[in-house]
């Protein structure tokens, strides 16, 4: 079973539907203690960084325990940003600090169209291309230049763990991966076939983590 962590602002329905379409069972734990039975954990998000405050110490401890146990964790959009140290969007809200760096407002970097020098619009909404930065299990089989759907105003910096980069005036982390922790800034659940492929890659990680006998129950 895949745990979809609800912190009150995410679009759980789309993520749930996409995971069901590729054969995964999901549930939304109501208390942190339920996470113990997860074979994989997803922190989705279409929302304000401030809403991640709902992920209290209790939730953080439970998630940390599972990740240390080898259970894969996937952050989507604000879920990716939460895995960094924090965000300009809500300076008072602490990130989970798996990845180093703070998320920045795309608007303050004054992104420009490289050809026309016209200012780019923020939020960054639509289909943009991925530049594969290094090999990762999450992005395995995804061609350089593949297009995926983004919708966000804040972005995470490019770091050593960045698996794919997107550029919107400035380069930012489109996908990051370290050990059992992966995250994407774009919405795989809204990125048609490429997105479902990436979710399948991640689901395979969770199948592996749950061991052969339990895999059928994922």
């Amino acid at each position: 079973m895949i745990a979809l962590v609800d912190y009150g602002a995410g679009n759980l329905a789309s993520v749930r539907k996409a995971l069901n379409a590729i054969g995964a069972n999901t549930w939304t734990p109501t208390v942190a203690g339920e996470l113990g039975r997860a074979h994989g954990i997803i922190v989705p998000g279409v929302g304000h960084f401030d809403s991640t405050k709902a992920l209290t110490d209790e939730w953080r401890t439970a998630i940390k325990t599972m990740v240390d146990d080898g259970v894969p964790l996937l952050g989507i959009c604000v879920g990716l940003q939460w895995l960094f140290d924090g965000s300009e969007e809500a300076p008072g809200a602490e990130g989970f600090s798996i990845f180093e760096g703070r998320c920045f407002n795309l608007a303050t970097s004054k992104p420009q169209n490289l050809k026309t020098s016209k200012p780019l619009k923020v939020p960054h909404v639509g289909w943009n291309s991925l530049a594969i930065n290094r090999a990762s299990r999450l992005m395995a089989g995804v061609k350089d230049g593949s297009q995926v759907y983004f919708t966000h105003s804040y972005a995470a910096p490019v770091i050593d763990d960045t698996a794919a980069i997107c550029e919107y005036g400035v380069p930012f982390s489109a996908a990051v991966e370290r050990d059992q922790v992966s995250a994407v800034q774009f919405h795989p659940e809204k990125s048609s076939d490429v997105g479902l492929h990436i979710l399948s890659n991640w689901l395979n990680l969770s199948r592996r983590s749950s061991g052969g006998a339990k895999a059928d129950a994922v």
Binding site: A9, A13, G47, A107, Y149, K190
Partner: protein
């Protein structure tokens, strides 16, 4: 590089897709889920459901349509029409919408834009503006008269000014529909689209008048649109 988006619009009434001309004379264009399924295969970038008679349709019926369409597509889904309160928006998002589109409600209660942007983020809040080109005054450009209630009542707002205010209040995108061009397949109103697009720093979706491939090319170049929405051209092909 960010691509220009092509968005298919499903105008829904009583659970059926309908389409009129200049916002009138609605005719049946089929089952929303079946059309959505086709769009998912045909490479459409996004889908919008506009509940054109939401005033009489219940929230539950709308949720049913949203869920049926959402089940067919793995693409961004926007829902508009009859989103009057924070609760309406929450119900649409819970049913599977990624974004909600506000029109009449934003005009009568502009605070709703900010409330929803704070709760769901600006990227989830589209302000839809239905406008007609008025006469050019002494100023260099004509006034773009905004209409509320599906084109039924004059809002006493200029589309450019209203788009600016909506942006300041937290809107993430503007969906700009030309009532003059709606359903005519005569081409987008590139002049009005460019005027609005140049005035705001958020994406503008042009709507009304799509008929040919060239119309899309025109609205992306001379209309400065970030995305273009069409209905008739997709339904009745």
């Amino acid at each position: 590089m960010l691509s220009k988006r092509i968005i298919a619009c499903l105008d829904v009434r009583d659970g059926k897709v309908v389409k009129g001309v200049n916002f009138e004379g609605l005719r049946d264009a089929g089952d929303p889920a079946a059309l959505a399924r086709r769009y998912n295969v045909e490479g459409i970038d996004e889908v919008v459901i506009l509940d054109v008679t939401a005033t009489i349709e219940s929230r539950q019926a709308r949720a049913h349509t949203i869920a049926a369409v959402a089940a067919e597509i793995f693409l961004p889904l926007t829902v508009g029409g009859g989103i009057r309160t924070e609760e309406d928006a929450a119900a649409a998002i819970e049913a599977g919408a990624d974004k909600v589109s506000l029109n009449t409600a934003a005009l009568s209660d502009p605070n709703l834009i900010t409330t929803l942007a704070k709760r769901y983020g600006s990227q989830a809040v589209i302000v839809a503006i239905d406008a007609k080109t008025g006469r050019a005054g002494l100023q260099s450009r004509p006034r773009y008269e905004v209409f509320a209630r599906s084109g039924q009542s004059v809002a006493n707002r200029d589309a450019v000014e209203w788009a600016r205010e909506a942006t300041d209040r937290g809107a993430g995108e503007i969906l700009l529909t030309s009532i003059d061009r709606d359903g005519t397949k005569a081409g987008f109103d590139c002049e009005m689209t460019a005027a609005v697009s140049d005035a705001v720093n958020i994406p503008v979706i042009a709507s009304g008048g799509a008929g040919t491939f060239q119309h899309f090319a025109d609205v992306f170049t001379t209309g400065h649109a970030d995305a273009a929405l069409a209905a008739s051209i997709f339904h009745f092909n």
